[in-house]
């Protein structure tokens, strides 16, 4: 799995951080998304996909 985030689209709602804290974080200075791992291991794939589904700004793209 490959993950991309679009920081320009992000609105900092933090849904991704709640759903997959090992994959996403938020920058301290502006609350925008930070991708911690670009290719999450199998055990984090479900949570990563859920985060992409939750994101209100369509800022997370997951490719298989």
């Amino acid at each position: 799995m490959k993950v991309r985030v679009d920081v320009d689209a992000c609105v900092g709602a933090g849904q991704c951080v709640l759903a997959a804290p090992d994959v996403f974080d938020q920058r301290d200075e502006d609350g925008m998304v930070v991708l911690l791992v670009e290719d999450p291991p199998a055990e984090l794939e479900a949570a990563t996909e859920h985060a992409a589904l939750l994101c209100p700004a369509l800022a997370i793209v997951v490719e298989r």
């Binding site: 609105v11 900092g12 709602a13 933090g14 849904q15 951080v17 709640l18 759903a19 804290p21 974080d25 938020q26 920058r27 301290d28 200075e29 502006d30 609350g31 925008m32 859920h50 589904l53 939750l54 209100p56 700004a57 369509l58």
Partner: protein
């Protein structure tokens, strides 16, 4: 917010329609028909215009994510007879801004609401909830849970966030309770409004002179460092936006969800037995209750595609959050409370760029309330017949006007 939606009709020519008094936790039954009928109907709204009403979950998300929708009118104006649809947007009014202006302001504020920052507030919220439970137990039942618990907690959390002096908090809390109370008379309301604006202005001026380590202080410093200094007017409007958006909503969620859970003893027992359930429980209750009961209003600024229809520039659109949250294609058996459902993708906080900025804070407050209230007062129950509880059918944010509760002597420890 005391404006009301009057003269609701119960056919599909108009929106909204009235709830069935027998099912006070469910949206009007007609919304299920709306989801099932094809397309996005144009329905007459009390404000005097027609709006395309979007009711299916996938359509609500698609619409609210579309950049061709403007939020310039306040989110519930459609249900307010005589409401102003073309009022100029006040500087700092985050909810009503669009595009780059909205993004700029939202980014200045977002660091205050990140998951990490809000987790750091959790011990404060816990202490606040416990203090209020101590006071309730001391007072003894019956007592109105809205007045003594649901209203003060979110208000004091906002005081903490904004950095209001401890000595001023009682007064602040009293005035904001009047401001959002549905029982306040117009004169008291006007007075409270003036006081809150005056209070916020004073607070902003104090923080501008000496920015402290609180939301407003940090916001002022951050904006300055980015070369985007905020005016007094912008800061006051932002402060009041946070106050109103964060107080009325959370307070109503506390009252209404407590009542709904008391009516579902099996679910409540599961929550009491496993506090780890609080996270999913809160999201499920947000979905089930959808307290922003009339949805959110938008106006198209260009073509917007919803399903296989196009909404044209100039048309109004209402995203019916409560209807989308009961869409059975996404939430099986949608009219049932299932605290284990894992309904995190609900629409109760909206969707798109305006999705609730304070949602992590709301979650933490509600989680602490859900766990502590029922653990410390396990025999909590209604002190009046259920039929006597008054619901805010006309208020923009749904809830109960009062919630008289009581408990067994043995809980008073």
């Amino acid at each position: 917010m005391t404006e009301t939606a009057t003269d609701l009709r119960s056919d599909l020519a108009s929106f909204p329609t009235a709830r069935d008094p027998e099912c006070p936790f469910d949206p009007p039954a007609e919304y299920a028909d709306l989801r099932e009928q094809e397309g996005t109907p144009s329905l007459a709204c009390p404000v005097g215009v027609n709006a395309r009403v979007v009711s299916r979950y996938a359509d609500v998300r698609a619409a609210l994510a579309d950049p061709n929708l403007s939020s310039h009118a306040a989110p519930s104006t459609h249900v307010v007879p005589g409401g102003l649809l073309d009022r100029p947007v006040a500087p700092g009014s985050l909810l009503n801004m669009d595009g780059a202006g909205h993004a700029r302001l939202r980014r200045l504020l977002t660091p205050e609401f990140t998951v990490k920052r809000i987790q750091a507030l959790r011990p404060y919220v816990q202490g606040l909830v416990d203090d209020h439970l101590d006071a309730l137990l001391e007072h003894g039942g019956p007592v109105d849970l809205v007045e003594h618990f649901a209203l003060p907690i979110p208000s004091l959390v906002i005081c903490e966030l904004l950095g209001v002096d401890y000595g001023d908090r009682d007064r602040f809390q009293e005035q904001t309770a009047v401001l959002i109370g549905t029982n306040s008379d117009p004169a008291a309301l006007e007075q409270a409004n003036l006081e809150v604006v005056g209070f916020m202005t004073q607070l902003v001026l104090t923080k501008l002179a000496a920015p402290g380590d609180d939301l407003l202080g940090r916001l002022i410093v951050r904006a300055g460092e980015n070369g985007q200094e905020l005016s007094v007017e912008e800061l006051v409007t932002l402060g009041i936006t946070l106050l109103i958006a964060g107080h009325e909503t959370t307070a109503n969620m506390i009252g209404l969800s407590t009542l709904a859970l008391l009516r579902q003893p099996d679910q409540l027992a599961a929550l009491r037995a496993d506090p780890g359930l609080a996270g999913t429980a809160v999201d499920e209750m947000l979905r089930y209750l959808s307290i922003v009961q009339f949805g959110v209003l938008r106006q198209a600024t260009g073509d917007v595609t919803v399903g296989d229809e196009t909404i044209k520039a100039g048309e109004w659109l209402v995203a019916a959050l409560s209807a989308g949250n009961r869409d059975e294609s996404v939430f099986p058996d949608p009219d049932r409370i299932d605290l284990r459902r894992g309904a995190t993708a609900h629409l109760a906080f909206g969707y798109g760029i305006h999705q609730c900025l304070g949602q992590q804070l709301a979650r933490v407050e509600l989680q602490e309330v859900f766990v502590r209230l029922h653990q410390r007062i396990p025999t909590l129950r209604l002190a009046v017949p259920f039929e006597d509880v008054e619901f805010k059918n006309d208020a923009l944010v749904y809830g109960v006007r009062a919630l008289p509760v009581t408990w067994d002597e043995e809980d008073n420890r």
